[in-house]
Symmetry: C2
DNA sequence: GTGCGTGCAAACGGTTTGCATGCTT
DNA sequence: AAGCATGCAAACCGTTTGCACGCAC
């Protein structure tokens, strides 16, 4: 897994390495899409990324963004976020974290919660199969939405 | 919230009450869709429910299933489950529970985990806004998929 | 009888795909 | 030079919507 909790330069260097390791060609589009995704903290949709990038890359096409994001997801460079909305949201693969979702504005915020990993799981879970990662999603109403009446 | 951890009869009675309370008409389609959803433990898609119900209700239409499920979701009689897949999945509103997702076969299983609600949240979460429910999703590989090589 | 809910068919919108061209390797 | 990645446009597919009829109230 790619650790991007670092400066942007290191981050991009790590991305370039990751591409080479996986035999992925390092194109301008991939680099810029990754850079934009890693810079974003709002778990953008493909379309949101497209709009942001279009300003500096006028020839970029939306389907390249889609194709690139699914390539990233396939190679573990980004994640598709589980959502109830119709548009898929993405995040650069980051340190392990959980999500706070505002029921009003649908914003998704990250947070850390190490304790969750040490809390013993119910027995039935162990019986179900091989356990991978635990992800917590907390639904609530964010400060901004609460105060805006 | 509707508690359906009971016999089917009580469950249906509770559903009928819930419809009346909300001013929703109690149609044959709604009743059968609810019955099938409550009987299903696999978090079916609208299409899956449609196929199952079509056997006994040949005139049922897929868009009625969609419309009914979103009515249920709107009135708190069912939930749309957060997923990374393209088709939406649903569950009858049940006691609070969490999800085990198999990365291979995409099956979703429910499990209980009361302890999670008493585990103190990180401070930053409290600062974010008003907290609602905590939902855990554990990704892993279920027994069947592990043994099938 | 009133008007909400259903069935049908057509529209919609996000995402994917086929194909010719371009750019990384 | 070889072939993967991109851009364009068209197809795809899950879901939604407009309309007329039917059924719960």
């Amino acid at each position: 897994m790619l650790d991007i909790s670092q400066s942007t330069n290191e981050l991009i260097a790590a991305f370039e390495r990751a591409c080479r390791d996986r035999g992925l060609r390092l194109t301008h589009q991939r680099l810029e899409i990754y850079r934009e995704l890693a810079r974003s903290t709002d778990h953008p949709t493909a379309e949101a990324l497209y709009k942001r990038l279009r300003r500096t890359m006028p020839t970029l096409s939306l389907d390249t963004v889609y194709r690139t994001l699914s390539t990233f997801a396939e190679y573990g460079l980004a994640n598709k976020v589980e959502t109830v909305e119709s548009q898929a949201r993405f995040e650069a693969v980051n340190n392990r974290h959980h999500h706070l979702v505002c029921s009003e504005c649908k914003t998704i915020m990250d947070f850390q919660w190490q304790e969750i990993d040490t809390l013993p799981l119910p027995q039935e879970v162990g019986e179900w199969g091989a356990i991978g990662t635990r992800s917590v999603v907390i639904h609530g109403i964010c400060r901004q939405c609460r105060h805006k009446t």
